[in-house]
Amino acid sequence: MRHTIPDVNPELFKPARFDEAAAELSGYARYSYWRSTLRTFLRSPVSVALLALIILLVGASFLYPIVSPTDPNLVNLDTSGWNSPPSREHLFGTDALGRDIWARTWYGTRTSMLLGLVIALFDVGIGMIAGALWGYVRRLDRFMTELYNVLNNIPQTVFLILLAYIMRPGFWTIVVALCSTGWIGIARFVRNKVLTIRDAEYNIASRCLGTPLWRMITRNVLPYLVSVLIMEAALTIPYSIGSEVFLGFIGLGLPVETVSLGNLVNQGKNNFMLYPYQLTWPTLVLSAITISFYIVGNRFSDASDPRNHV
């Protein structure tokens, strides 16, 4: 069968002039990854609401100590003021020593949020860098795998108990204790993800073109990891609040007069049957924080996938 070529308007075949301005427009120059991520994220009202909740809680917990004169550690020497139920004076009631739970909840939220954020920052920061290198640089693989296996198999308790004998209880002690082993888990996760991306065609292409390693990691690999990392960070916050209680048991907790959500919840749990409000309110705040972080993290990581942008 023969094809016949229909008549074509020769006008269409005029050589085009190169228009520099138009060329600029047609590229991805206007596309900003982070702006698009944010735009996609903000499209969902749930995410926005939860984000507002987080900002509200965090803001309130940092403002409260400045605004309110209530001392969260003020002990009531009159025993009739112990374990009193919520009232106008004490919005969340008082605990076993007559301390105001409303004030303690805000102070505790501040401590725990700070703790969680700092730990998440260190864990994810170190874990991400180490993991990307681990996955990308083949020579490191053997060493890092070894380090991972060793760290992963030394019981954390041995290490933490020893740490307790050396360090005084305090904020940074907890950060050190949790980060010293926390980062490697994240690193491994990142490494596995990198392993699957490393040999993707565009990366092979990049390598052939002689892109420096650092640039390849930051431009080609990390954006793919952002979603995973945000999730990890969101999960590290509740995890570190929980761990704080365990660390308290082995002498690595916060000083007794520092209020934290971890020890509020723990104390509340002991008396739950009797004074449910002592557990309910701090737990509600704790759950609100973790749930919002988690969902916001999840949404944000969905939004961070470039293919969801268009």
């Binding site: 083949r138 053997r142 795998t145 070894e146 991972y148 296996n149 060793v150 992963n152 198999n153 030394i154 019981p155 308790t157 041995v158 290490f159 108990i161 020893l162 004998y165 596995n192 993800k193 392993l195 699957t196 040999d199 979603s227 995973v228 999730m231 999960l235 509740p238 929980g242 082995i250 919840v265 749990k269 739950f272 557990l279 737990t283 704790l286 759950s287 973790t290 749930i291 988690y294 969902i295 999840n298 990581s301 969905d302 996938d305 293919r307 969801n308």
Partner: protein, 318 residues
Amino acid sequence: MFSYIVKRLGQSLLTVAIVIVSVFLLLRLMPKNGYFTREDYVSLDKEARTAYLRNLGVLDDPFTQFSRFMSGLAKGDLGRSITVYPRSPVLEVIRDKAPYSLWFGLAALALSMGLGLGLGILMARYKDSIVDGLGTLYVTIVRAIPSLIWLFFIQQWVTALLGWPMLFYEDRPISWILPTISLALSGIAWYAIWLRRFMVDEENRDYVKFATAKGLARGRVMRGHILRNALVPLVQYFPQQVLLTIAGSLLIESIYSIPGMGGLLVNAIRQQDNPLVQALVLLYAVLGVAGVFLGDLLMALVDPRIRLADARTKGGEA
């Protein structure tokens, strides 16, 4: 492949050796006062205390202690516990306790994989639907509320409601149900959430779009492409999870009074029962390292793009 396995085996042995030696040295750094109670300090003078420690064998120099441990190990003798179960052979202690943790752990793992993966698939397939929302709610609740609290409620209320025993009894199968479910709850959430995440990530890949464009049924795409690829990063944790079920769960075993391995290591460390700690660390290290090794092999098996060794023969790059 064979040479790779041999190499990895050697490497694993090295890891175990490093772990054992480090734990061994860390244990010697522990202060010795953990061996005495307040009354002991009153009733024993320094010399008597030293004599007690010497007879436990903790005063010998680290090298002697280490060679004693190694030579015992060579004969298959892990020594005797010194403080947790004074004089009981370590092997006997582990033999008494391990089966409970193992069976509960495996049952819970099967449950959490079954339900968790199922839930994950549903959530990914019907993304942003009510199923996804409910699933997310479940996962969030399990993660957000401290486990101590819901475990406590399950034990108190569910047993009261159904009239089930509060503790585990070996001869009453009905008492096995709640501990297994409690153990599986967070596992279900773990599998569901990560599978959903990976499937959603995978769904946006070009090959999926291509397959869909080619006209493949959505179910087929899900099963044949998305699910398979999304499972890859999860699969490598599986061997380790199976092997380490033997370590038990501190919390759940103590709540239901299951005589498993859960609190054993922490107890042994706190009471400075060096022979017991060493034996447990050895056991967990071997299983942990073996788990990682098997995980990597498994991952290579399911994902042809991953080449573990710098094999000269080109792998199946598509």
